[in-house]
């Protein structure tokens, strides 16, 4: 369980992103974390990862504060940020380096995910395009087999075919004991994958519930617009 309690966070004193903000991810499954631009979605993911520390309140994973960055917690959570650089080494070398940190890392799953993206493990990270970089890192993330996987705008910069491959990779890499949190404003790219939808606006959770089959038919975009326009 990921628990965010009464958190305050601002990048500077004038710009407070979250204030007295609480949110819990209690069950496994695929969560869509939706919110308008600038509502603090990325900030939340960084807080969950322990890369940012709350100025008030607490963020914990299975009861342990994430700002402590204990090896036990860090080996169970993986973040795919919206933008990142990869070192100029071969994928094999890279996997060799990070593998010891993730006890359930699966080479088989890595190959399967890369195959979904029409790629192999025989690549050099230094010579990849932006889209390829995303695909490789998402494959590594899924293969790490952490209980918690956080993805920030994963479909940004992917073409239509790659978005479809991304969905297949996520479904193929998902298992019952995992929680995947996908932050996005591209609702259409992921809506049919989701088990839960969570809509936030500054300091407030507007909606955090399982998606019923009927909502899939109603269409999540409408739900999003309705909820954000007309908060409960």
């Amino acid at each position: 369980m990921i628990s965010i309690k009464n958190v305050r966070f601002g990048y500077n004193s004038r710009q407070v992103v979250l204030d007295d903000f609480s949110l819990e991810f209690t069950q496994g499954g695929i969560y869509g974390l939706l919110g308008k631009n600038g509502t603090g979605k990325s900030t939340l993911l960084y807080l969950m990862m322990g890369l940012l520390r709350p100025q008030k309140g607490s963020v914990s994973i299975d009861g342990v504060g994430t700002s402590l960055r204990t090896p036990e917690v860090m080996s169970e959570v993986f973040l795919v940020p919206e933008e990142y650089d990869l070192p100029s080494i071969s994928l094999r070398k890279y996997v060799e380096v990070i593998k010891p940190f993730y006890p359930r890392f699966s080479n088989e799953l890595l190959e399967q995910c890369l195959a979904n993206f029409d790629m192999t493990t025989d690549i050099d990270l230094g010579s990849l395009s932006m889209g390829q970089k995303k695909k490789v890192y998402m494959s590594v993330a899924l293969a790490s087999n952490t209980r918690y996987l956080l993805m920030d705008e994963p479909t940004n910069g992917l073409d239509i075919l790659s978005k479809s491959q991304f969905r297949k990779a996520v479904i193929g890499g998902m298992s019952a004991d995992k929680t995947i949190i996908i932050s996005t404003h591209q609702v259409h790219d992921v809506e049919l994958l989701l088990d839960h939808v969570c809509i936030i606006e500054r300091n407030r959770v507007l909606l955090n519930e399982p998606i019923e089959e009927k909502d899939h038919a109603v269409n999540l975009e409408e739900l999003f617009i309705k909820t954000v326009k007309d908060p409960l």
Binding site: I30, S164, R167, K168, I171, G172, M174, L192, L193, L194, D195, I211, E213, K214, H216, A217, V218, N219
Partner: protein, 121 residues
């Protein structure tokens, strides 16, 4: 697979599988892809496909062999046609009746038009 807005996704997937069975893509008695495989193929949540498979099982179109997965029923094509016949009388026909009433079209007129249509085939 393209989904329409007005109908539950699990039902659209179930109907799609029925089409695939009728076309012989999944022969009777053969194993279906696992729930996860099928979910990845059509890019939806696993639980949605679980509901599609449940619905198909209730209609005796597929069945579950413990620990082995889902298989196409030996009489799947007959059962699908039976189910489509029910849909025709429960949904298509009442809709038609309503239209006929609205436009003041008699049964006799429809019968004649149908005969012409069938003669053409």
């Amino acid at each position: 697979m393209k989904f329409k807005d007005h109908k539950p996704i699990f039902l659209q997937i179930a109907e799609h599988i029925c089409d695939e069975i009728l076309q012989g893509h999944y022969p009777e008695g053969e194993r279906l892809p696992s729930v996860r495989e099928y979910a990845a193929e059509v890019e939806v949540n696993v639980n949605t496909v679980v509901r599609s498979y449940d619905w198909l099982s209730q209609k005796d179109i597929i069945f579950n062999k413990r620990g082995m997965g889902y298989f196409v029923n030996e009489r799947a094509s007959d059962n699908i046609r039976q189910s489509l016949r029910e849909d025709f009388f429960l949904e298509t026909l009442p809709e038609l009746a309503l239209q006929m009433q609205k436009l003041n079209i008699s049964v006799e007129e429809v019968k004649n038009a149908l005969q012409i249509l069938q003669a053409k085939e």
